[in-house]
């Protein structure tokens, strides 16, 4: 992937302005070690290791359509892991991200159905609702100074309850009605949930969106002022504020970005399954966070990349489906998943330690 090269400069340079690195330390270290010290390299090696492992352990993985399936699974995690990673680099995280996906899908579906509107109306209102949830998280965090754990745990519980109660109140059931025969559905489905063929293999459009968003996020992080602000507020928000970084704006907009991601994945789920169950999404937030952490973002903020979580999400999809392709005893499913992921994180950690040790 060419984005690795794109991601190469500047990631490990501290974003804080001030003296340039002229003490000579970085210059003395060999190129290979400097490369290894980047946040995405450890996870890249981990992902390659997992891929190679399953290419041997599970013969069906070698098939193109299997790889498309693995990439599809990775993309639904990956699209959310990207804004979650940016937020984490900005020093916060969001526990409400999993149920927010379902909130968005429920909003779009119920609004269109109950008012018998073109589904695009629902889609747009759902976007506004998702951005508003993000803005609320960010605003409450900035205004109160509470840790993001508490703020987003609160939103997580609120959304979980609202998803269920409102759906029940509006539809009389706990799942939404089928909207697949409504105006605008097929258009929206093309955008959010279509399939195209490459060399005889059916690829889901989410894979393309995932890579487009990753490229965009990488560019923003490395080439724009906003990207610098993200690193700055995640590193030390007081010194960031002192040098003129708009901390409040950056934090709130990062939460809204997570809202955007939740909307996009929510729309994918709605337009690929036609109905939404209100109890879904719980637990997914941890998978997004895990993909970002495996991708080299620190839980403490100020460090990470956008390309790392792409490999993090890929690793998740690879392991989860690889176990099935290998035909292993399904009772061990989650244990396998946990072991593989811990292994990947440890490789990641070891690579970084080795690379940064002098």
């Amino acid at each position: 992937m060419s984005m690795t090269q794109q991601a190469a400069p500047a990631v490990d340079t501290p974003p804080a302005p001030g003296p340039k690195q002229s003490d000579g330390r970085t210059r003395q270290r060999p190129m290979a070690l400097r490369l290894l010290a980047r946040p995405e390299v450890g996870v890249f090696l981990g992902a390659v290791a997992v891929l190679v492992f399953f290419l041997f352990a599970a013969p069906p993985v070698r098939d193109g359509s299997s790889m498309a399936n693995i990439l599809y699974q990775s993309s639904t995690i990956g699209i959310m892991a990207l804004p979650v990673a940016l937020l984490m680099i900005g020093g916060e995280f969001d526990l409400s991200a999993g149920v927010a996906v379902v909130t968005s899908a429920l909003t779009a579906s119920m609004l269109s159905y109950q008012l018998t509107m073109n589904v695009w109306v629902g889609v747009i209102v759902a976007l506004l609702v998702s951005l508003a949830i993000g803005a609320f998280n960010g605003w409450l965090l900035v205004k109160t100074g509470l840790p993001s754990f508490l703020v987003t745990l609160g939103t997580f519980l609120i959304l979980q309850g609202v998803n269920l109660a409102v759906t029940k109140l509006v539809t009389g059931n706990v799942a939404t009605d089928d909207i697949s025969d409504m105006d605008g559905f097929s258009q929206a489905q093309k955008l959010f949930a279509s399939t195209f063929t490459v060399g005889g293999v059916n690829v889901k459009i989410t894979v393309v969106w995932w890579l487009v968003f990753a490229a965009l996020a990488t560019w923003v992080l490395l080439r724009t002022k906003y990207g610098n602000w993200i690193f700055a507020v995640g590193g030390n928000k007081h010194s960031a504020r002192a040098v003129g970084v708009p901390v409040t704006f950056t934090k709130i907009s990062l939460f809204m970005l997570v809202g955007f991601g939740a909307w996009f994945v929510g729309m994918h789920q709605l337009f690929s399954f036609n109905t939404v169950q209100s109890g879904e999404g719980v637990g997914q937030e941890l998978i997004y966070i895990a993909a970002a952490v495996i991708g080299g973002c620190l839980l403490t903020g100020g460090y990470g990349s956008a390309i790392g979580p792409v490999f993090g999400a890929f690793m998740f999809g690879m392991v989860q489906q690889g176990i099935v392709y290998a035909g292993w005893n399904p009772d061990w499913f989650k244990a396998f998943l946990g072991v593989m992921l811990l292994g990947a994180v440890l490789i990641n950690l070891w690579v970084q330690r080795t690379a940064t040790r002098r």
């Binding site: 399936n69 509107m117 025969d181 690929s272 099935v324």
Partner: protein, 339 residues
């Protein structure tokens, strides 16, 4: 890119634009097909109303939030309560300890009867004893077929999951299935395991169980696709909940497999799928009936001293098969969310 302009106003501008666009579409853009308008005004089943004295019944289940199945149980219970002049208090928690607390809560409220599911009978043993000591009749429903007598419940309404699984297995023999994938949406759930085991008991071919992450549909879809790729000899996919059956249909087509899909439990989208042949059949334990009979059973006991099943045998509500032959009739009821 101008990096020094005011980020706040830049942020607001698109939001305003989108809001305006939304307002415009709201004003002019309604769907000409589907939607609420096409839904027929279907009333719930209702009978006359009893004139017996008002009583209160607590229904305490192990429902996880947002599950369509339990919604139907609750609707049945509400229909019976409305008919019998009963105030129904519904509460639920998938955690057995919390469910026991909810039963205790009902005892404290001095209700006239308790209907309870016994997904984890041992955890509820103590609190059910307390209810009996307080003179409150308790009936069981849905899960706990093997334990309701040990706990001295009045009566029990439900489906034997193993019996349902066995009936399912026989049906698979009839339709000529050779190798079956049994998709479990919740790892370690006793009832789901009994279903797959029941299928394996009577089915003459091979049954492969497969766990999936039930709270994440894209993941369910990918996992079933992966399994069908890994083992192309699978010719029937069996799911243990209606929404997963509909997803499995997509997986089958993604995997380019010829496997057919059949499922436990029903919902209204599933009816459509049975009509257009994308799903072969569903076994229905009639959750509406479980909720209805449990509440009605308590009313009969209080007002006429009746025991359903004579207090000796459970009252079975399933397995009832829904396939192309009877789907039209049942479809009418499923559209209302009561089947």
């Amino acid at each position: 890119m101008d990096r020094s302009s005011h980020p706040r106003s830049r942020r607001i501008a698109p939001v305003v634009a989108v809001a305006a666009a939304a307002a415009l579409t709201l004003a002019g853009c309604s769907s000409s097909s589907g939607g609420k308008k096409s839904e027929e005004g279907a009333a719930n089943a209702s009978a006359g109303k009893a004139t017996t004295p008002r009583m209160t019944v607590a229904l305490v289940t192990h429902q996880a939030p947002g599950d369509t199945f339990w919604d139907t149980v609750r609707k049945g219970a509400e229909a019976a309560a409305a008919k019998d002049n009963i105030k129904l208090v519904y509460s639920a928690d998938p955690n057995a300890g919390n469910q026991a607390n909810l039963v205790q809560n009902a005892i404290d409220q001095k209700v006239d009867g308790i209907a309870v599911t016994l997904a984890k009978p041992d955890a509820l043993k103590g609190v059910i004893g307390k209810a009996e000591k307080a003179g409150i009749p308790v009936v069981g429903l849905n899960s706990g077929l093997s334990d309701w007598k040990k706990l001295n419940l009045l009566e029990f309404f439900g489906q034997d999951e193993s019996v349902a699984g066995e009936a399912f297995g026989k049906k698979l023999n009839e339709v000529g299935a050779k190798k079956v994938l049994c998709v479990m949406q919740e790892q370690g759930n006793v009832g789901l395991t009994q279903r797959c085991d029941g299928v394996a008991k009577t089915f003459e071919g091979k049954v492969d169980p497969q766990n999936v992450n039930g709270t994440d549909m894209p993941s369910v879809k990918s996992t079933i696709t992966a399994k069908l790729k890994q083992d192309p000899s699978i010719d029937y996919v069996v799911t243990l909940g209606a929404p997963f059956a509909l997803t499995a249909v997509q997986s089958v087509s993604d995997a380019g497999s010829k496997a057919k899909v059949a499922t436990f439990d029903l919902n209204k989208d599933l009816i459509k799928a049975i009509k257009n042949d994308s799903i072969q059949f569903a076994v229905d334990q009639q959750p509406y009936l479980q909720g209805y009979l449990a509440v009605d059973g308590l009313w009969l006991y209080k007002n006429n001293g009746n025991y359903s099943g004579g207090g000796e045998q459970p009252v079975l509500t399933g397995p009832a098969f829904v396939d192309k032959s009877n789907v039209d009739k049942i479809g009418e009821f499923a559209a209302k969310g009561t089947r």
